[in-house]
């Protein structure tokens, strides 16, 4: 059985079209979320579009487990959490969301500088690209093996982090 990683999707026309659809969707939705949308609920929906498009990109890159995890954790859980927080803070949804013109310009300069420098680095670096794409029928079993052998300490720390976050969120947000 051929999985997502066994053939290179970008040698086919459909694969390239899928990449460009997902890429343009994510960039346009992110641009709208940051620049044009004031309403927080709509901004959260735009972010959901970005996250779904990124999940498509993961699938195209052969990361099938990550694509599913992205959909389940981000689109399913985190966005619902953010929606709850938006609705639990009434009167804050439609307030002018952006700061004054000076900080506006400063933010634009800083982020444009980061973008330009990074793009120059990306285009000028001579990347050591592997001759053939990753040859795995599924990444889930390989990822599971890595998490319990080479990355077992970060894995345990991550589970501790989630426990601490769970208890901390309860303690911080409870009524007293």
């Amino acid at each position: 059985m051929t999985g997502l990683g066994t053939t290179d999707p970008f040698t086919t026309f459909a694969g390239s079209v899928a990449f460009w659809v997902a890429a343009v969707t994510s960039i346009v939705a992110a641009y709208m979320m940051v620049f044009t949308i004031r309403n927080l609920v709509r901004a959260a929906l735009a972010l959901t579009s970005v996250l779904a498009a990124v999940a498509v990109l993961y699938a195209l890159l052969g990361a099938d487990f990550l694509a599913v995890a992205q959909l389940v954790v981000y689109v399913g859980a985190i966005m619902v959490l953010i929606m709850f927080a938006i609705f639990l803070t009434p009167g804050q949804v439609d307030v002018p969301g952006l700061v004054g013109a000076a900080q506006h310009a400063g933010a634009l300069i800083v982020s444009a500088a980061v973008l330009i420098v990074s793009v120059i680095v990306i285009l000028t670096t001579n990347w050591n690209i592997r001759p053939e794409p990753l040859n795995l029928s599924s990444t889930a079993d390989a990822l599971g093996g890595l998490l319990l052998t080479r990355y077992v300490v970060p894995f345990e720390i991550a589970s501790l982090l989630l426990t601490v976050a769970l208890i901390g969120a309860l303690v911080i947000a409870r009524e007293d």
Binding site: V34, Q70, P133, L147
Partner: protein, 110 residues
């Protein structure tokens, strides 16, 4: 039309654009929840880079070729923890101050 065929640089530039847009959102939003949304955008930009590196970069040995995907997995885990804690803090602040505008939260200003 070679540039239309996706390669490593396409994914890197896409991730960088998402990261920069998120950084602009963090710096220009006034609502604390809006800032958290933008942070999620930045984390996703980095994740795209990680997964693209895992697919394309030649690491020379068999073991660590999925390292980028493992890192992306840890970033997703950390984003879940960060969203839970951050939104709990936002709600606690709202309960006390009746606002989540970061420029009005100047309690510690000297």
């Amino acid at each position: 039309m070679d540039f239309l065929i996706p390669s490593l640089r396409h994914f890197l530039i896409l991730g960088t654009i998402l990261f920069s847009l998120g950084m602009y959102g963090v710096l220009s939003r006034r609502n604390a929840i809006g800032i958290l949304l933008s942070i999620e955008l930045m984390l996703n930009g980095v994740n795209v880079l990680m997964v693209a590196f895992a697919r394309y970069i030649n690491v020379g040995q068999v073991g660590p070729e999925l390292a980028g995907q493992v890192f992306a997995l840890f970033i997703i885990t950390q984003a879940a923890a960060e969203a839970a804690i951050g939104l709990a803090i936002v709600i606690a602040i709202y309960r006390q101050r009746r606002t989540v505008q970061v420029d009005q939260l100047d309690l510690m200003k000297g």
